[in-house]
């Protein structure tokens, strides 16, 4: 049997693994590698729908970098990403700690309830919240009115200054539970003896968290921060459903992917779309590297 391979003395056909991997290889070549190269080629061409392509050199990039809409999209997306990290992640961590310390039998139920919005796709959430934010009728406006006597008539989705806060509020509702699940999983691996030792030494809960818990959940925290950033920079469906394809008054809810969609599919210029795609990939790549560097622990250096 010269045609067979052995693994610990048992024969098997050497092509077996390759045969199993064939579907992946075909799909990866056609729908990953080829489009990747094609995106590079396309970004130097101007197209009119999928029919024609004319070489334009760096014109697509020149156009993007001189387009005020691009900077608006970049600003909005960055605000959203910063809000995700600075508001949403601390809340997720806080809830995870509360759940982790709780001895209640309802713990599991709370975890499920807080996670549940994540089951609903961004489009459905957008449809739902476009009614929830309705002046006078929407439950969000009514709730705010009952609580602080303001906001019953606030038009969250048609005032430029309120569109980003509205998006951030919706994403908070959607993703706070999702990140909480990761923090909760990390907290469950924290060494309980270390925590108890610190408590016996008289450390306050805050000190225990800062010096015992946080260092141990760092790898997961870094992972969550980077994944949140990558996800935030690709925000599209939520503003698309909430604000329609115009992305709100004055494009106040335009995101980078929204800008990409608008150029590639509303204006029909796939070349510019591909160029924006590369710029987005570059931005995400650079930010991830910076975050990885910034969060490196002293021991790793």
């Amino acid at each position: 049997m010269s045609n067979s391979k052995t693994f610990r003395g048992v024969n098997y056909h050497p092509y077996a693994p390759w045969l199993f991997l064939t579907p992946y290889i075909i799909i990866a070549l056609t729908f990953f590698l080829y489009p990747l190269i094609y995106a590079g080629w396309l970004s130097f061409h101007q197209t009119d729908g999928p029919h024609s392509a004319v070489f334009v050199g760096l014109d697509n990039f020149k156009f993007i970098f001189s387009d005020p809409s691009f900077y608006k999209a970049l600003k909005n997306t960055t605000i959203y990403a910063i809000a995700s990290i600075c508001i949403q992640l601390p809340l997720s961590l806080g809830l995870a700690i509360l759940l982790n310390n709780s001895q209640s039998k309802l713990k599991n139920l709370f975890r499920l309830l807080i996670f549940s919005p994540n089951l609903v796709g961004q489009i459905f959430v957008g449809v739902l919240f476009s009614v929830i934010f309705t002046p006078r009728y929407g439950i969000f406006n009514i709730g705010i009115e009952k609580l602080i006597h303001w906001g019953l008539d606030t038009q969250w989705l048609s005032k430029p200054g309120l569109i980003m806060p509205a998006l951030i509020i919706v994403s908070l509702w959607m993703y706070v539970g999702y990140n909480m699940i990761y923090f909760l999983a990390a907290l469950q691996t924290v060494d309980k003896q270390l925590v108890e030792a610190a408590q016996i030494d008289g450390a306050s809960p805050w000190q225990v968290f800062l010096h015992v818990t946080l260092p141990q959940i760092r790898p997961v925290a870094v992972f969550v921060v980077i994944m949140s950033t990558i996800g935030s920079y690709q925000l599209f469906e939520l503003p698309f459903a909430l604000l329609k394809s115009s992305f709100g008054v004055d494009q106040a809810g335009l995101t980078i992917v929204g800008y990409l969609y608008d150029n590639a599919f509303n204006s029909g210029d796939l070349g510019t779309g591909a160029a924006i795609g590369w710029i987005l990939a570059f931005i995400i790549f650079v930010i991830s590297i910076i975050q990885l560097r910034a969060t490196n622990s002293p021991e790793d250096k």
Partner: protein
């Protein structure tokens, strides 16, 4: 001052009374108990805030147009009747609409979505687990490179491929075909790695024993491996099902025939169509949330485990 204020004052007031006014001699464990009490309040408030939109949604789809604006949730029980609470929104939703290809009923979109989510999940489950098995249990030249290639491919954001993929789908004549929705995402690297990791945990001796008994390589994968990684299978199915069910961009871009559209695309269109009849598209949204919710509550343990495997190990 209204009910919300009174409830909040009562909840937090009880904490301050317990924590600061009751002397420790009377209640020695007061610090521990008051801390647990405060934690419980925050958790209950968080959970209440999170589920309010769902409760509101359920209440509103059954309300008649005449009382829609009058009450935020349900009308008081004394006013319950078929005039205030009924299925009008659903009847309107299911009455069918004209399209260039004839009348399309809402049922059609539900069936399309269910079909696509199930087919997409089955194909993806089969292909990713097969690839994961090849990478977990065989030693062959090029394996290291393949794993490196896959890990590298995960670095590129999906949105980079939006424009070139559109052109490719157009060129291979997959426009308006479900192939364009099912195939490009069928071999998610994330799934391959998930299965590889789970299958590496299965002892080699099991594979070898099956091989010595004369089982074919495919049989080993199908009859030995797959039953052993069932928890992972459940998690992966749910994650993929949700991804397919909620997929908006691909059908929005690739599908033109009205009768082939899926729920996310059509509900987004209804948003503009039924401007003042919120109840109608809210009813559609409620129906669109139910299937994933049922699956989730059936598989929630596996789901959470699958979601966090990659993050907490290593």
């Amino acid at each position: 001052m209204n009910t919300i204020h009174y409830v909040l004052i009562a909840l937090f007031g009880a904490y301050f009374v317990m924590r600061f006014l009751i002397p420790t001699s009377v209640f020695p464990r007061k610090i521990k108990v008051s801390r647990a009490y405060l934690a419980a309040i925050f958790l209950i408030l968080a959970a209440a805030l999170v589920i309010t939109p769902f409760v509101w949604l359920v209440c509103n789809v059954f309300k008649d147009q005449s009382v829609l604006m009058k009450y935020s949730f349900l009308p008081p029980i004394s006013e319950w009747s078929s005039q205030t609470l009924n299925f009008t929104n659903f009847t309107k939703l299911f009455q069918g609409e004209e399209s260039p290809q004839g009348t399309v009923y809402f049922w059609q979109y539900i069936i399309n979505s269910i079909f696509l989510a199930c087919a997409g999940t089955s194909i993806s489950l089969f292909l990713t687990s097969l690839s994961g098995y090849a990478l977990a249990k065989y030693k062959f030249k090029g394996r290291g490179f393949l794993i490196f290639f896959m890990a590298g491919s995960m670095m590129f954001p999906a949105m980079l491929f939006l424009a070139p993929l559109y052109q490719i789908i157009y060129k291979i004549h997959w426009m308006d075909s479900y192939l364009s929705l099912l195939i490009p995402n069928a071999c998610a690297v994330f799934g391959i790695f998930l299965f590889r990791q789970a299958m590496q945990g299965v002892p080699n001796s099991l594979v070898e024993a099956a091989r010595m008994d004369g089982a074919s390589e495919f049989r080993i994968y199908w009859n030995v491996m797959m039953p052993l990684v069932r928890p992972m299978t459940g998690a992966y199915c749910l994650i993929t099902f949700l991804g397919n069910w909620n997929n908006f961009l691909s059908p929005q871009l690739y599908i033109q025939t009205h009768a082939k559209l899926t729920l996310p695309v059509i509900l987004n269109q209804y948003l503009g169509l039924y401007l003042n009849e919120y109840g109608v598209f809210l009813a559609g949204t409620l129906l669109a949330i139910i299937p994933p919710a049922i699956l989730f509550f059936a598989l929630q343990k596996e789901f959470v485990a699958g979601l966090t495997t990659g993050a907490t190990k290593g």
